[in-house]
């Protein structure tokens, strides 16, 4: 247990992955956890912040559109701007896009169906705050649970993401090849996860925290969560 490191997990009204994340960080990663209410403004010096999955504000208007203006987001923006590691999972990814902490947006799945299954992703960048402990080209089995998971960015934006190596993970077949079947939600470039240019803010649609306990869902997600413990140059200054 690394009591010197504390991960802040934010709960918005409608979050449902907050306790999964708290459990994973406490028991599988072995760090301190501080549950942060969306109305708080003081992050109490946490070392990393996680925006969990769920349906904040019932997905009213657009997923993440209302949560973006929750009081806690001002502090999270400052934390991210200072280089602090921030991970947005599923709805958390949507919130980070709405808050312009990450580029692009998440659209309705191409199938119009809610997707709930074990997806496989290929990790392409091993130098972000949340992938530092993962070998490049690792293939991970992670559960997805989303209705609006189709990552969208216009052509110019996609070219910029690719040029800056900001595509952190893509949906793939179990052998690592990209396919339209693996990219079930219809994301541009099969994108499952991206980072900002500073590489301290990561958004991921699948749920690493739900693949962290050997009893349920496998343990492929732990390496992502654990990565934040490995200090890097983008760590808080």
């Amino acid at each position: 247990m690394n009591a010197a490191f504390t991960v802040g997990v934010v709960s918005f009204p409608g979050s449902n992955g907050d306790h999964d994340a708290i459990h994973a960080f406490e028991h599988q990663v072995g760090v301190g956890v501080r549950a942060i209410d969306y109305r708080e403004s003081d992050l109490d010096g946490v070392d990393a912040v996680v925006l969990p999955g769920g349906f904040s504000y019932g997905d009213a208007l657009r997923c993440g559109a209302i949560a973006r203006f929750a009081p806690v987001m001002t502090s999270i923006r400052a934390f991210a701007d200072a280089g602090g590691p921030v991970l947005g999972i599923c709805n958390g990814f949507q919130i980070l896009c709405e808050a312009h902490l990450l580029p692009g947006a998440l659209l309705r799945n191409q199938s119009l169906r809610f997707h709930c299954f074990l997806a496989t992703v290929r990790v392409e960048q091993a130098d972000t705050s949340w992938t530092r402990g993962v070998a490049e080209d690792s293939i991970l089995a992670l559960p997805v649970a989303h209705g609006e998971g189709a990552y969208f960015i216009d052509e110019a934006g996609l070219a910029e993401l690719e040029a800056n190596n900001q595509v952190v993970a893509r949906y793939c077949d179990p052998d690592g090849t990209l396919s339209t079947v693996a990219n079930a939600n219809g994301s541009v470039g099969s994108i499952a996860a991206i980072c900002n240019t500073r590489r301290n803010v990561v958004g991921i649609m699948p749920h690493p925290e739900r693949a962290s306990d050997p009893l349920v869902g496998g343990t492929d997600g732990v390496c992502l969560l654990r990565s934040v413990l490995l200090a890097g140059e983008s760590a808080l200054t």
């Binding site: 208007l61 657009r62 559109a65 209302i66 203006f69 896009c97 709405e98 580029p103 692009g104 947006a105 659209l107 309705r108 799945n109 191409q110 199938s111 119009l112 189709a150 969208f152 960015i153 216009d154 219809g186």
Partner: protein, 92 residues
């Protein structure tokens, strides 16, 4: 200055080039129902806001600010605003 009630209508549509699977599904259904010549269907949303403002122009400015800040996401959506005076006792 008296402040009248205005109705701001924001029509928010997926931008050109943004996939709209909902529109595609509706078009498929219209085809199946036998409506001829349906070329393209796009689904968006309309948000109606009743607001007290000094003038229609002031109400429009407010509508623009609302769309830019919250109602529309410029990455994926365009919006069109219309503003009209709300008649006394109208329930819109």
């Amino acid at each position: 200055m008296t402040r009248k009630m205005w109705l701001i209508e924001a029509e928010i549509m997926p931008k050109q080039g943004v996939n709209d699977p909902q529109g595609d599904a509706v078009r498929g259904s219209l085809d199946a129902l036998g409506f001829p010549g349906v070329d393209r269907v796009r689904c968006g949303k309309v948000i109606r806001i009743r607001v007290a403002a000094a003038s229609g122009e002031a109400a429009r400015d407010m509508g623009v600010a609302m769309c830019d800040k919250l109602l529309a996401n410029p990455v994926i959506e365009d919006y069109l605003l219309s503003v009209s005076a709300v008649e006394e006792g109208a329930d819109r």
